[in-house]
Symmetry: C2
Subunit: 345 residues, 2 copies
DNA sequence: GTGAAAGCGCTAACAA
DNA sequence: TTGTTAGCGCTTTCAC
C-alpha cells in the first residue's frame, strides 16, 4: 500500500496531469517519458502531478499509436492441466519480465474452439501466440500464414518449419537407465503408457539405447499399457512373472510407478533394496506420496515454457530464430526409490 | 511498427475497406456495425470488401473510443495449481462467452508481485479482476478503492464487504457424514489437515454437526495433521488404536484418504466392507488411483469460477450484486470406497 | 443514404 | 525549453 496514488476511482488522463502541472499535453508526455530536454523543475512538477493524481498511461492509446499491444496469446488444449501449467508459468515468467501480458485461452482440445480463440487473439492484435498441449504428438498447426509468430510448447506442429519446444523423452529414458546402471542394477524392466504415444515410445527407446550401450537389454518385454496406477499394478505382476530376477523398474510415468511400487510391496519385494524404481514426470504429489518417495525424471517443463517465450520474443523482435524443433534436456530427481543398496549382510 | 521485411500479412484498416468499397470511412463503419440506414447494395459492397480483405476491427481503437477494453485480469497465488485451475476454467467459460478476454497473472503468493500485477492490470484498463487462491483463509484484499470491481474466488478477502465465492467446506463435511450414516455406518472417524486451516476446521465441524443430529459423535478424536498421504497413513494407525471398532473414516483430502486406505489394507481392514472411506477434493488422479476408487466430496470449483465471473460481469455492468460471501454447495461423488456392504454370505 | 469532421488518450514531429 | 499540430483506427454526430 505504498502509493497514495491508488484509489483514484476516476480515470486520469495525461490531459489532467498537464493541466495540474500547468504545462501543455506534449510537455507532460515528454516529461513522463523522459524524452527531449526540459527544465528539471518542469519535469518534476509534471511527475509530481502525475504521482498525485495517480496517472497511468493508457496502453490502448499507446499501443494504438505504436502499432503494438504488448500482449501475446497462450492457447492450450490441455485445460491448463498438469503439463501445460508449468509450461505456462515458465512462459509467463519470461514474458512478464518484458512487460508483455498474456491472454489465456483453453480450447478443451476442440479444433472449433481453437480456431475461434485464435481468431479472437488475432483480432486483439496479440503479437504472438504460444500453443501448449498435453502430448508431444505432432498436431496440425493453428493456421498458416498467420500475421504473428507462433511457438508450440510441449506439443509439436506437423509442419516441420514451425517452432516447437518439446521435452527430451528419449534422453530422459536414457538418463533413468544410466542412473540405474550406475547404482549397480542390470536387470531393468520397463512399464509404460500406450504404445500409440510418441512419448512412451521415445522413453522406451532411450532406455533401450542406454542399456544397449552397456551390452544389456530390458528385462522382460517392454510393457506398454495405460498411463494409470492400475496398469502399473498389473504391469508389475506381468513383469515379475516374465523376469522374476528383475532388480530395477523404469516406469513411463509417476502414476505407473506408484502402481508398480504397490505391487512390489505386496509381492514382498523391497524398494529399493530388491528392486529400484524410477518414475517419469516428477509430479510431486505422486512422487512424494509414493512409498518410498520416487526417483523420477523431470522434463523441466518450466524451462520449456521459458524457452518458448524467449523464442517468441525473438520472433516478435524480428530476430530470425530459425524454425524447427528444440528439445529441452530432462533431469533426474533423486529420492529414496533408487538409494544404492547397502552391501547385504 | 512491424519490421518492413516481415512477410506477415499487412493489417487491414477500415480505411482500406472503405477505399475498396468506394465509400467513406464513416459509411464503412456503419455498414460493418449494422448501424444507421443505408442501401442494402452499399452495405453488401462494404461487407464483401471487408471479407475479401480479411478486415478485423482493431479492438484497441474501438476500446479507446468506447472507453472499454473487454478484458479482465485473473490473479492467482496458487501458481494456477490444482485448486485455482478449475476455478479459472469456469471463469474463462463464463467470460469467454461474453467476448471478454482474460489476462492471467501468477503472483507466486508474493504480495510484492501481486501488487505489481494489479498495477499492471489496472494500467491495461481491465474492467475487473478475479483473485483466486489455494486456501479459503481470509486474506488481505488486493487494494481498496480500486477503480474496477474485484471478486475473490476460492479465497476470501478479510474485508467483509468484498465479494468472495468460496466452497462449502462445512456442507461438504456434513454431506460426507450423512452419506456414511445412510449406508449404515455409525462409528465414523475423521483424519484431516492442519488445524490452522479454516477449511479443515469447517469440514470437521460439518461432520460433527451431522453426526450430532443423529445422536452420534466422531469415533476417536478428530485427527488434525498434514495435507499429505504420509499423515493419512499415520493418522489411520492412530485412529485404529483409539477406536478399533471404527467402521468409516472421513478424510479431509483425497491424499489423506489414500494414505488411510493403504494403512487399512495393511492392517487387514477391507474397504468398504469393514471400513468405508470418504475423501475430499475429488482430485481424480488421486481418487481413481486409490484402492478402491474413492468416494469423495467435490467442491464444484468450476461452478465457483463461473459464479465469480458472473458476479464480476454484473458488477462491470453496474448491476449491484451485493458484496459479501457466496458459498457454493459441494456434491458427493460416489465410488467403490463406500459401496454399501453386501449382506455377508 | 452518404460523407465530413470531431475526438477517444497518447506520442512525435516541428514551431515558437 | 515549451507549445502546437498531426495523426494511430475507429465510431458517431450532424450536415449534405
Amino acid at each position: 500500500m505504498a502509493s497514495p496514488s491508488e484509489g483514484t476511482a476516476k480515470t486520469v488522463t495525461i490531459r489532467d496531469v498537464a493541466a495540474a502541472a500547468e504545462v501543455s499535453i506534449g510537455t507532460a508526455s515528454k516529461a513522463l517519458n523522459g524524452r527531449g530536454r526540459m527544465r528539471t523543475e518542469t519535469r518534476d512538477r509534471v511527475l509530481a502531478a502525475a504521482e498525485r493524481l495517480g496517472f497511468r498511461p493508457n496502453p490502448l492509446a499507446q499501443g494504438l499509436l505504436a502499432g503494438r499491444t504488448y500482449t501475446v496469446g497462450l492457447v492450450t488444449g490441455d485445460s491448463f492441466g498438469r503439463f501445460s501449467i508449468p509450461v505456462m508459468l515458465g512462459a509467463e515468467d519470461a514474458l512478464g519480465a518484458g512487460k508483455i501480458s498474456v491472454f489465456m485461452c483453453d480450447t478443451r482440445d476442440d479444433p472449433i474452439r481453437e480456431r475461434h480463440y485464435v481468431e479472437r487473439l488475432l483480432a486483439r492484435r496479440v503479437e504472438g501466440i504460444i500453443v501448449t498441449g498435453r502430448r508431444t504428438e505432432p498436431r496440425p498447426g493453428i493456421g498458416r500464414d498467420l500475421p504473428v509468430p507462433v511457438v508450440y510448447a510441449m506439443t509439436q506442429s506437423t509442419d516441420e518449419s514451425d517452432v516447437s519446444i518439446i521435452p527430451d523423452d528419449e534422453g530422459g529414458g536414457a538418463l533413468a537407465a544410466r542412473h540405474l546402471l550406475a547404482t549397480g542394477r542390470t536387470r531393468i524392466g520397463h512399464v509404460t503408457g500406450p504404445h500409440r504415444f510418441e512419448a512412451a515410445r521415445r522413453r522406451a527407446r532411450g532406455l533401450s539405447t542406454a542399456l544397449d550401450a552397456a551390452g544389456l537389454e530390458p528385462a522382460g518385454e517392454v510393457l506398454f499399457g495405460q498411463w494409470s496406477e492400475e496398469w502399473g499394478r498389473q504391469g508389475a505382476d506381468v513383469l515379475l512373472h516374465a523376469a522374476p530376477d528383475v532388480d530395477a523398474i523404469f516406469c513411463g510415468s509417476d502414476q505407473i510407478a506408484r502402481g508398480v511400487a504397490e505391487t512390489l510391496r505386496e509381492r514382498g519385494r523391497r524398494v529399493p533394496e530388491d528392486v529400484a524404481l524410477v518414475g517419469f514426470d516428477n509430479w510431486e504429489p505422486m512422487a512424494l506420496g509414493c512409498r518410498p518417495p520416487l526417483t523420477t525424471v523431470d522434463m523441466n517443463l518450466g524451462e520449456i515454457g521459458r524457452l518458448a517465450a524467449r523464442h517468441l520474443l525473438d520472433a516478435i523482435a524480428g530476430t530470425p530464430t530459425g524454425g524447427g524443433v528444440t528439445i529441452v534436456p530432462a533431469s533426474l530427481v533423486l529420492r529414496e526409490s533408487t538409494r544404492r543398496a547397502a552391501p547385504q549382510g
